[in-house]
């Protein structure tokens, strides 16, 4: 408990059970806020959302066996997105371990490949050190989830507590300082490049490099694209912003990347949804790659200049090196490149046609407009996620919270609960689909009972829309297993839970519904009945180069 306080923990998400009952008992005596979720998966997503919105480590407390296994999806999602979360799981007493005891599972074994590190506490004397180490590991370097498995008898052991010193680990020392020579090599490339593009990812947000990135791009008048995880790392309304890259990236972002002569990847890992066919990715470009995790570098794309270091520190150093350079020559070449990009933008902007039925893109645009771009947006996964990424423009970091790497349906709503607890004064909206929202809908009661004014905007098309879109394009419109037209009445469902339900079926009702939701200081579900067969464009078919997009 003392360590939790020392680490600045004020909120814990969890669900009790036999093996963890002692900790709940102790926790209840502190002023740490315990949020009782209704499913352990949601506890981890909520801690994830909390961590992203607050910049702190998210904390979960669940019981052994099923309590522990239910957290796995949440842990895997946090691992893929590098989010600092510490998960405490109960475990059967030490003498019973390995005996197939009631509610026993080898959660350390199960989560080994999806945690940054995990522990089974075998000796009570080690507990304090392990907890400190866990927080340190979760938060430092490339952040990630850490799990601590606590046998019931270890927790019950009474001992004199002494706060252990800050951990110093021989085998773990994140490399934050970039290599000077590599920075100098990068500067040389930057001064020569005529058609450069910056590609910013989640690392920019995690390291808090927003200002440094802006200074860097601004100084060099260099266009910036971002991965899904990087949205908000560079102001989305800035003229240098190209929009998101990748499978559902903007035409200009993908064309710029395909045609650039220098690509500066910052805090990215070049995953397949970004690169499309890897051999054709930025094939005329030299690549500079800045990342704190050496395994990200050279993993997917060959890199000209690898820079292992913290994004913020590295950008700061690059900026100060640029101070000593004469940029007039390099800036002279920029207007041509920006003009080319402008042409790509104006010939094929993001667009949709709002006629009779409500277009989902229209809903997201209206939400953007009416929240003045200042809301914290969480998303589920699928079309809703892509439309949110395309049509909501984020000027600040930590406002877009989405399960990027693992792509977890059911992520957005519990993450919104976590985000709302971290930032009680901000407006938090989960942009959801009718499929995804049903995956963690039970958390409605958590939002309502904790009086959290989270808003859920369901883009309701009666389909598992992203899969349906693939079926339309690549499976001759055979909509196997994707029609979910028969669905609960979301308005009545909201009411049943004590939340507020609103519905719009016509385009002219959308604005009123959003306004009313914003003005209601309660949990609100907005059910937008949208065009059933609308698809997300542009789209790069899986395995194609990103410059070959389907554009409606």
């Amino acid at each position: 408990m003392e360590i939790l306080k020392e680490e600045g923990v004020d909120t814990v998400f969890g669900f009790p059970g036999g093996a963890i009952i002692d900790i709940n008992d102790e926790l209840d005596k502190t002023d740490i806020h315990y949020i009782l979720v209704r499913h352990e998966q949601a506890a981890v997503h909520a801690a994830d959302g909390y961590a992203r919105a607050s910049g702190k480590v998210g904390v979960c407390l669940v019981t052994s066996g099923p309590g522990a296994t239910n957290t796995v999806t949440g842990i895997a999602s946090a691992y893929m997105d590098s989010i600092p979360v510490v998960v405490f799981t109960g475990q059967v007493p030490r003498v019973l371990i390995g005996n197939d005891a009631f509610q026993e599972v080898d959660i350390v074994g199960i989560t080994r490949p999806c945690t940054k590190h995990n522990y089974l506490v075998k000796e009570p004397e080690r507990l304090a050190d392990i907890v400190r180490e866990a927080f340190y590991i979760a938060r430092s370097g490339r952040p990630g989830p850490v799990l601590i498995d606590l046998p019931k008898d270890v927790v019950q052991t009474k001992m004199n507590f002494k706060m252990p010193p800050a951990p110093r680990m021989k085998s773990y020392a994140p490399h934050t300082e970039p290599h000077k020579q590599q920075l100098e090599r990068a500067i040389k490339l930057i001064l020569k490049a005529k058609k450069p593009v910056i590609f910013a990812g989640g690392g920019v947000i995690l390291s808090g490099a927003y200002k440094e990135l802006f200074e860097f791009a601004d100084k060099l008048n260099m266009p910036v694209t971002g991965s899904l995880m990087g949205l908000g790392g560079f102001p989305g309304t800035n003229p240098l912003w190209l929009g998101m890259i990748g499978m559902h990236g903007t035409y200009r972002a993908n064309m710029s990347t395909g045609n650039c002569d220098l690509l500066i990847g910052i805090g990215v890992r070049f995953d397949d949804r970004v690169t499309g066919r890897i051999d054709d990715f930025a094939k005329n470009a030299k690549i500079v790659h800045i990342d704190i995790d050496p395994t990200s570098i050279q993993k997917n794309v060959p890199v000209t200049v690898p820079i292992v270091g913290d994004c913020k520190v590295s950008l700061k150093k690059l900026n100060s090196l640029l101070e000593q350079e004469d940029l007039t020559e390099v800036l002279k070449t920029r207007p041509n490149w920006l003009k080319q990009i402008e042409e790509w933008k104006s010939t094929t902007p993001l667009a949709y046609d709002q006629s009779n039925a409500i277009k989902p893109q229209f809903v997201v645009e209206k939400i953007y407009e009416l929240t003045k771009g200042k809301a914290i947006i969480t998303t589920e996964v699928g079309q809703n996620q892509m439309w949110a990424a395309q049509y909501y423009h984020f000027d600040k970091p930590n406002r877009f919270i989405t399960s990027g790497g693992l792509g977890v349906m059911g992520f957005g709503f519990p993450a919104a609960i976590g985000a709302q607890l971290a930032r009680p004064k901000d407006l938090v909206i989960d942009i959801a689909g009718d499929g995804s929202i049903q995956m963690n809908i039970q958390e409605l009661i958590v939002a309502v009972s904790n009086k959290l004014p989270v808003k859920i905007a369901i883009l309701n098309n009666g389909y598992l829309g992203m899969v349906r879109q693939w079926q339309e394009l690549f499976y001759d419109k055979r909509y196997a297993a994707t029609n979910i037209e028969q669905a609960p009445d979301f308005v009545k469902l909201a009411e049943a839970y004590g939340a507020v339900g609103l519905r719009a079926t016509r385009a002219d009702e959308v604005e009123d519904v959003i306004k009313k939701a914003i003005d209601t200081p309660k949990t609100v579900i907005m059910d937008f009945v949208v065009e059933r067969e609308e698809s997300v464009y542009p789209m790069v078919p899986a395995g194609a180069p990103i410059t070959e997009m389907l554009l409606v």
Partner: protein, 164 residues
């Protein structure tokens, strides 16, 4: 891949349960291959040395080294491939020993500087140490007499001191 190469990697790891499965899980989860793996305690009982032999092109081996380094229980990763190093494997070989072939087997034992560690009426058990090449050579000779069973270790290796 044509540029695939054998790499011998030496690891110093925390001597605690689960470390082996972290390393093995990393290889299976990421589709890297392990040809052999040997683990034992070092002089410091808190630390074990693992020697693993793997195969892959430069890019894959670079990933293997980095990913191993990233494991928190791994203290040090030394890829021995491009330095001079000593490498040994051991095999216990039960070879059929008919009366008329016993002398020949002992001659082979002598030439290969191995040891007879168990003798019975129809069979010798030999202890062979050496490089993978030497062990392959003796096995091929002994197979003419008939090998009943073998047990082999993977490779263990250390960098030569002069190279350090």
């Amino acid at each position: 891949m044509t540029d695939e190469r054998k790499h011998t990697i030496s690891l110093l790891v925390d001597n605690e349960s689960g470390v082996l499965s972290r390393v093995a899980g990393l290889f299976s989860g990421r589709g890297f291959n392990i040809e052999s793996l040997c683990v034992a305690e070092t002089l410091d009982p808190g630390i074990s040395r693992m020697t693993l032999v793997t195969r892959g092109n430069e890019r894959i081996v670079e990933q293997i080294n980095k990913q191993l380094n990233k494991l928190i229980s791994v203290k040090k990763v030394i890829d021995l491939t491009d330095v001079a190093f000593v490498e040994r494997e051991m095999a216990l070989v039960k070879v059929k020993a008919k009366k008329e072939e016993r002398a020949e087997i002992l001659r082979i034992v002598d030439i290969f500087r191995c040891k007879v560690v168990d003798v019975s009426a129809g069979c010798y058990t030999l202890e062979v140490t050496g490089t993978a090449g030497k062990i392959a050579a003796i096995l091929s000779l002994l197979s003419q007499m008939g090998i009943k069973e073998i047990a082999r270790t993977g490779a263990i290796a250390l960098a030569r001191e002069a190279q350090k």
